[in-house]
């Protein structure tokens, strides 16, 4: 599969991988040996019938292939792009034991893109209309999936979204060059075509409480995500020029600051940018910085490349694009100029010690190894916690100490009729696991209301 060259792609926000050509897609699909007991399906949190869709694809029957995928996954153009396939479906593919696994994710993307190009919108099929109304909080992948599945069963769904644009992290977090917003919009249009009503600018907890929603709706699904940015609580973190990754990406993706002043939300970026963290969010923030014109962008990470939680593919692309990796490095303070703008990051060198609870070797500081990195912009991308607003305003909603909403195996919370899933339950996780949670809750809600 082709990719745009580095020189070209770092000057704009367009997508980096080009996607399979028709011939490439068919020959890749033909590699699947149609296992009787397909392992790949077990690696997919929404259990797509992978050999099923690959069989159609290999025969050139794209329409049936995409239909097969959409039986269980209503956001294929998104998943095909951002699923960590190498740890899920493709990790389990038997062909991967000896050679290359089938490129399942890219094939999924191919089909979704084909459908879009052909403008062959699959006609939304919904079941018999039911009277029951259900409220969904949050329009990220968890909420959208839950809403879509329930709408297909005939329920009347209203999605409440606090921001002025829908899509959750798909819209405000993941940048255009990895997930074009046109695609997110199309996937959301599909969900709407199922009859789902989406109300933006509705902060649940403030506008309506969960209890108030329960008076009007038979069930409530909470998919409010992990939007609370973590900071390190080190001196100087509140200086100007120190952003949370959320703020930074929100300005760029949601408010389109890269089109300033046509769009009025500004962003300020220095020549030297440091991004703290080693996940997908850090890679995205670093690559965005490059595209906004930073001269030097480095990633400050306290372990080594082997322990980085970001997708390998994205780390690789970041490296190709010239991002500098300062591994085994931990910032301990920031200093500012006389105007209060950050000017350097004081760091300490780390080494890897004994494994910790996550199984990864724990980084330990090397005494006396302090050094300074000159910076004009710092982006803190060390993770997000579950959004605390709804739990705060909903006294009976039980949560873990770290903030995650507690649910049963079926996705039910401690309040009868209220379900939850996605990052609000798991902490920052993945698009596909959020979708899996949305599906599971939809099933449980249907079961509850059919009883």
């Amino acid at each position: 599969m082709g990719e745009r060259s580095v020189v070209e792609r770092i000057t704009d926000f367009q997508e980096v991988p080009l996607g399979y050509t028709l011939e490439e897609a068919i020959s890749e699909a033909k590699r699947c040996i149609q296992c009787k007991n397909p392992q790949c399906v077990k690696g997919c949190p929404v259990e797509i019938d992978i050999p099923g869709f690959l069989k159609y694809l290999a025969l050139g029957n794209f329409e049936s292939a995409i239909k097969k995928i959409k039986e269980t996954n209503s956001l294929p153009a998104v998943c095909g792009r951002v699923c960590p396939q190498e740890e899920q479906c493709e990790l389990k593919c038997v062909l991967g034991v000896k050679g290359e696994p089938v490129g399942i994710g890219n094939l999924e993307r191919f089909l979704a893109d084909w459908e879009r190009a052909e403008n062959r919108k699959q006609k939304a099929e919904s079941g018999e209309k039911k009277k029951d109304k259900i409220a969904v909080v949050g329009s990220g992948p968890a909420g959208l999936t839950c809403a879509g599945d329930l709408a297909r069963l005939g329920y009347q769904i209203t999605v409440f979204e606090s921001l002025h644009v829908t899509g959750g992290v798909l819209t405000y977090g993941i940048p255009e060059f990895r997930l074009p917003k046109k695609i997110v919009e199309m996937e959301i249009d599909y969900i709407k075509s199922l009859g789902v009503e989406i109300k933006t600018d509705m902060l649940i907890g403030n506008v309506y409480t969960i209890e108030e929603l329960l008076k009007e709706y038979k069930a409530v699904f909470i998919g409010s995500g992990a939007g609370l940015p973590k900071f390190m609580d080190i001196p100087g973190e509140n200086f100007d020029g120190v952003y949370s990754a959320n703020e930074y990406l929100f300005r760029v993706n949601m408010m389109k600051a890269w089109k300033f002043p046509e769009y009025l939300t500004p962003i300020k970026i220095g020549k030297k940018v440091a991004v703290v963290g080693g996940g997908n969010v850090a890679m995205d923030a670093a690559r965005v910085s490059l595209r906004l014109g930073a001269e030097e962008v480095c990633i400050i990470y306290r372990r080594t490349k082997n322990e980085m939680p970001a997708r390998k593919e994205e780390v690789h692309r970041a490296e190709e694009e010239g991002i500098i990796f300062k591994n085994l490095t931990l910032p301990i303070a920031y200093h500012a100029d006389e105007k209060g703008w950050v000017k350097d990051a004081k760091c300490i060198q780390m080494e890897l010690g004994e494994p910790d609870s996550s199984g990864r070797r724990r980084p330990v500081p090397i005494e006396g190894s302090n050094f300074k990195i000159p910076v004009e912009t710092v982006i803190v991308a060390i993770g997000n916690s579950p959004n605390p607003l709804i739990p705060h305003r909903t006294p009976n909603l039980k949560t873990e100490r770290w903030g995650g909403v507690i649910i049963t195996n079926e996705g039910a919370t401690s309040i009868s009729g209220v379900f939850a899933g996605g990052d609000i339950v798991r902490g920052a996780a993945t698009v596909i696991s959020a979708m899996g949670d949305g599906k599971r809750a939809a099933k449980a809600i249907h079961k509850m209301l059919s009883a």
Partner: protein, 278 residues
């Protein structure tokens, strides 16, 4: 989309609009604010809910034209729709029977204190209101506030109305007169809030300030609104905007407010050109 029901010019650069937003009005308590996105390409800006009418389903906002987005908002007319309104946001003002409360509003902060003054009075407090501005023309909402206050004092920088001087001078006088004050609430520019806190701190009079930090999502997701209060970082949009003024790091607040100065100028020039041509 929320519709502008009426619009009024309160002074050269301060406007008042009444907007149809029943779900916001229904849930609002004094001290809360909304986020406004006047047109799709504009910024998300926070504005205090200066008044609300649950029966009519309306909210009132009073805003000063300072930059690009407030300029766009001001270009909308009666009957126009506002692209987005989100609210009510923030923690409502804490209300109880404190006794005597001095409420101070400066600049456009004068409008922001109105619902708080009203509610304090309804809760049975004796409210002494002090409002201050640069000149007479900028002293808005005087008659509305007068009806809600036991006493209303005004100050102007140039002496064109009320006392020539600052709101903090009035505050000092009240304190010096020996009157027992149970609480002070200050809303206005940072230097004004800081000076008032300097007056009350040695006397340990509890003083609440409403912080106008920069904001983006205003739902607790970005952290641009962070302020240091009592040595701890707080998100003003969800944990505020009211905080104990004696604990606030005003220096940091002032510096964080100016982070985008040049860019804001650029955006404003852009909008000025557009509005002129369109």
């Amino acid at each position: 989309m929320p519709k502008i029901l009426s619009k009024e010019k309160l002074s050269e650069n301060i406007s008042k609009i009444v907007v149809e937003a029943p779900h916001v009005a229904k849930a609002t308590k004094p001290g809360q604010f909304i986020v406004v996105v006047p047109t799709e390409n504009a910024e998300r800006i926070p504005l205090t809910i200066a008044d609300f009418d649950k029966k009519q389903g309306t909210i009132t906002i009073i805003f000063q034209i300072v930059g690009a987005t407030t300029r766009i908002l001001n270009s909308l007319k009666e009957g126009d729709n506002i692209a987005h309104i989100l609210g009510p946001l923030g923690v409502p003002s804490h209300m109880e029977k404190f006794g005597t409360v001095v409420v101070i509003g400066g600049g456009v902060g004068i409008a922001e204190i109105y619902p708080v003054v009203k509610s304090l009075k309804e809760t049975g407090n004796e409210v002494i209101t002090i409002i201050g501005a640069r000149c007479k023309e900028l002293l808005i909402y005087e008659s509305e506030l007068r009806t809600q206050s036991a006493e209303l004092k005004t100050t102007t920088d140039d002496g064109s109305s009320g006392r020539k001087g600052f709101v903090s001078d009035e505050l000092k006088d009240i304190i010096n007169s020996g009157k027992k004050i149970d609480r002070v609430i200050v809303v206005g520019p940072v230097p004004m809030m800081r000076v008032c806190c300097d007056v009350t701190k040695p006397l340990a009079i509890k003083t609440m300030v409403s912080l106008n930090t920069l904001m983006l999502d205003a739902t607790g997701m970005c952290g641009i609104c962070r302020v240091t209060v009592g040595g701890e970082t707080k998100f003003a949009c969800v944990e505020g905007p009211e905080f104990d003024g004696h604990q606030v790091d005003f220096g940091e607040l002032a510096s964080r407010l100016s982070a985008y100065k040049n860019k804001e100028k650029e955006a404003d020039n852009h909008v000025c050109r557009l509005l002129k041509n369109g």
